[in-house]
Amino acid sequence: MEVIDHLFYTKEHEWVSIDDGVATVGITEYAQDAMGDITFIELPNVDMEVEQFEQLASVESVKAANDVYSPLSGKVIEVNSELVDCPELLNKSCYELGWIAKVKIASEEETSKLMGAEEYRTYLESLE
């Protein structure tokens, strides 16, 4: 399972990258593989305030529906509307074209509750 070095991760298999106070959020390779073919995503509204580890989006695969939680608190400033018609981007390019939302964060302190790449890799091994 591909894990990208410079990202932060959650136990629910979301990834987040932080650039100049803006967090870009998506789901990991593990998550998309476990869900299988993704067929639908409900994106958050822009300007929505979200708390860390609360629901940000929901995705459906052929098999089931899953919630996506926000790795950090903040305000949604942009969503990836490409995913509405092409939810399969979440399968094909979960770390790049399949990003879900950008969240303006108040502080980076909450990253202490997230995993780094090494820790996430170890976590994935523990799930096997």
């Binding site: 639908f40 459906e60 098999k63």
Partner: protein, 361 residues
């Protein structure tokens, strides 16, 4: 109880299939992608491991041994080398199982039943047979492969000489790589297709040969999408011991001219008025309905419950089957599905949902 494995289990692992429990069996739900496997069935040719299903052999005159009373479909007019879909009911009219009866010879029958219900079916049949000695459960020594898709006939021609002669819901014996097998032109996908019954110790070799020749292995995930697009019932979802076959739309598979177990209950139900009916519906969006969700009419009134739901790759929409109050809605009517406050608009459609299948081509 540990999950049962089909003879092809090791090859599923080799293919890195995702395995899931299904009716007591450890079965492949997908190999690489449900949608890709679905696409192979709709456009090309695919093969399913269906060894978990049960097969029973019965010898004798259907009336004399009691078989005719056990199943709802008409047997007396079923030609040899033809098969017919129907159900076994309990005295209350609930569905013990749905099944296909094959007439092997004038007085020799094969019943093909669901894998999860083999023991229950066997108990029921043995209880009601007049001559129990005429029954044999051959499930363990019988393998079953379903080859489905518009290219299946051309694909199988070099392997099964004469396969092109089989018409819909007929079967015959063929030679496959030197082994005698029974092949029926049946399936659960809405596409042209065949089901191969063979000795269980030969099934892995056949499976590998079909894959080598280019058939796509397909799992139960694709199978479920295909059958929901066709509006076919799945036991445990649209059918169960407490469900009337009249509600589930099995009326065309019931022979009213004969006596069968459960008939008096169904006649009473008809007289009182059948309460529910099954409908097919298509979501306005890509959001899929899920089993157990409520279905609402255009006024927001709850009229029933979703029994199966999935995403239709053919329509790029969510689709579902639901049991609703008879008379509440019909094809073309607006409905919505969901739970709590979140409701997704949808439309009732006629069955099947997917109308371009190669089933009878």
């Amino acid at each position: 109880m540990p999950l049962k494995q089909t003879p092809i289990y090791d090859d599923h692992l080799r293919l890195q299939a995702k395995m899931v429990p299904f009716g007591g069996w450890d079965m492949p739900v997908q190999y690489e992608s449900i949608i890709a496997e679905y696409g192979a069935v709709r456009q090309d040719v695919a093969v399913f491991d269906i060894c978990h299903m049960g097969e029973f052999i019965l010898e004798g005159d259907a009336g004399a041994i009691g078989l005719d009373r056990i199943v709802t479909q008409s047997l007396s007019d079923l030609p040899v080398q033809s098969c017919r879909y129907g159900a076994m009911l309990n005295e209350k009219g609930g569905v013990i199982d749905d099944l296909i009866v094959f007439r092997l010879r004038p007085e020799r029958w094969m019943l093909v039943v669901n894998g999860a219900t083999i023991e229950k079916d066997k108990d029921h049949i043995l209880k009601h047979l007049k001559t129990p000695g005429c029954f044999e459960d051959i499930s363990d020594r019988t393998g079953k492969l379903d080859v489905q898709g518009p290219r299946s006939r051309e694909f199988l021609k070099p392997l099964l000489a004469g396969i092109e002669k089989l018409s819909y819901y007929t079967f015959d014996e063929f030679s496959l790589l030197g082994e005698r097998v029974t092949v029926s032109r049946t399936g659960y996908t809405g596409e042209l297709g065949y089901e191969i019954y063979c000795p269980s110790d030969k099934v892995v070799g056949f499976w590998k040969k079909l894959l080598d020749l280019g058939a796509q292995p397909a799992g139960l995930g694709a199978r479920d999408v295909l059958r929901i697009e066709m509006g076919y019932s799945l036991y445990g979802h649209e059918l169960d011991d407490g469900r009337s076959p009249l509600e589930a739309g099995l009326n065309p598979f019931i022979c009213w001219e004969k006596d069968f177990i459960g008939k008096s209950a169904l006649l009473k139900e008809k007289e009182a008025g059948v309460k529910l009916k099954i409908i097919c519906f298509v979501s306005d969006s890509r959001r899929s309905p899920r089993e157990g969700q409520d279905l609402f009419d255009a006024n927001g009134l709850c009229i029933g419950k979703v029994s199966s739901g999935t995403f239709s790759p053919a329509l790029s929409r969510g689709i579902g089957l639901a049991f609703v109050k008879r008379g509440s809605v019909g094809a073309g009517d607006r409905v919505s599905f969901g739970q709590d406050q979140i409701r997704t608009p949808a439309q009732v459609v006629s069955r099947p949902i997917y109308k371009s299948g190669s089933l009878k081509s």
